[in-house]
Symmetry: D2
Amino acid sequence: MEDLIKKVREFRQERNWDQYHSPKNLVMALMVEAGELAEQFQWLTEEQSSRLQPDKLAQVQEEIGDVLIYLVNLCDKLGIDPMDAAREKLEKNREKYPAAKVRGKYFKYSEYE
Amino acid sequence: MEDLIKKVREFRQERNWDQYHSPKNLVMALMVEAGELAEQFQWLTEEQSSRLQPDKLAQVQEEIGDVLIYLVNLCDKLGIDPMDAAREKLEKNREKYPAAKVRGKYFKYSEYE
Amino acid sequence: MEDLIKKVREFRQERNWDQYHSPKNLVMALMVEAGELAEQFQWLTEEQSSRLQPDKLAQVQEEIGDVLIYLVNLCDKLGIDPMDAAREKLEKNREKYPAAKVRGKYFKYSEYE
Amino acid sequence: MEDLIKKVREFRQERNWDQYHSPKNLVMALMVEAGELAEQFQWLTEEQSSRLQPDKLAQVQEEIGDVLIYLVNLCDKLGIDPMDAAREKLEKNREKYPAAKVRGKYFKYSEYE
C-alpha cells in the first residue's frame, strides 16, 4: 500500500492536479467511479455477476482500480491510513454484528433481537 | 493487503454471509457506503473539506473503512488483486494523461489538443 | 410539477439555504439520497425487491421523495425543466435503442449489430 | 407527470425490458445515472457549477433526464406516485427542520439545539 500511495501522489503532482484534489472533489470522483463500476453490473443477475466473461472482468478490474486510486488519493489528503481504517472498522463491525447472533442473517443486530 | 483480505473473508464466513455477497450486491453496498462518505462532505466548501474537525475526521475514517472493506470483499469474490488493479490502471492513466500535456488541466487529453 | 417546484423553492428560501445549494452540492446530495434508497435494496434479491413489505415500502417512498426533491432543486437552480429533460431524453433513447432491434436485449445497439 | 409515466411504460414494454426492470435493478441504474450527472460537476468549483456553458448545460440536462426516467420507472414498478412522495417528504422535512430554528444553518436540528 505504501508503494501505491507513493505512485498515486507522484502521478498527481507531476500533473499539478493538487489544486483540483480537495477531499470533497475526491469523494465526488470516487462516487463517479463507483457508478461506472456499478454500470457493469446493473442488468446482470446476481448469478451472472459471479461468472463474468474475461472481457467484462478486465473492464471491472479497471473500474475497481479507479475506485481504489481515488480512495488512496483521498486518504493521502486527509492523513488517513486506508488499511488502518478498514481494520479498525472491521473490529467495530465484529462488535456490532456478533457472529453467534447474526449467522446467516443480514440485518442490523437491533432489528432482530 | 493480504492480511486484510484474510480478515474480511473470515468475518464474512463466520457470519455465513457468502450467500448475500454476490458481486452485484457487493457493488451496490460499495455505492451505499460511498454515499455515506459523501454525506460527510456534501455541504462543506472544498476548503472546509481540507481541514476537518477531529470528530468529523473520525467519522470519515469509518466510512472510508467501509468502502475499502466492500472493495476487498468484491475483489476476493472476483479473483482480482486490488493493488494490481490500481497499479495497472495508474499505468494506463499515465498514457491517457501524459504529464507534459496535461499539467494543471483536468480534462480528457482529447478535449484540449 | 410546477406546484412542487414552488414548494421546494419556498422551503429552501424560508431556511436561507440558497447559500449551500450550489448545483455541485445539490448533485452530491442527490447521490447521497440515491445511496440511501439503494441501501433499502442492497441485500434483497430482485424478486424480493418486487414485493416489499408495507413498512419497507413506506421507507422507500421517503427516499424516493428525497431524490426527487433534490432533483427539482437542482433543476430550479440550473433553469432546467425536469419534465422536458425526461421527455427529450426518452425521445433520444428511442433513436438509440430502436424497439425493432433491441426487443428483450439490454445492451447498447452498437454492441450487437 | 402522468404523461411521462405513460411514455416511460410504453418505452419499456415496446422493448420487452420489464424482465430487467426489477426495482433493485432500477435503483442501481438510477445510481449509475446519478454518477454520470456527478461526473459533469466533479472538478468544477461551486461557483463554476452555477454558470455552466451551453454545451455542458445540455449534457447535464440529458443526465437529469436519465435520472428522472429511472425514478419514474421505479415508482411505476412499486406503485408509488413520485409527486406524492416528494410532497409528503417535504412536509416531513418541514417538521424536522423548522424554519425558525434552522435559518442559514445546515445541520440536523438535533445537532445544534
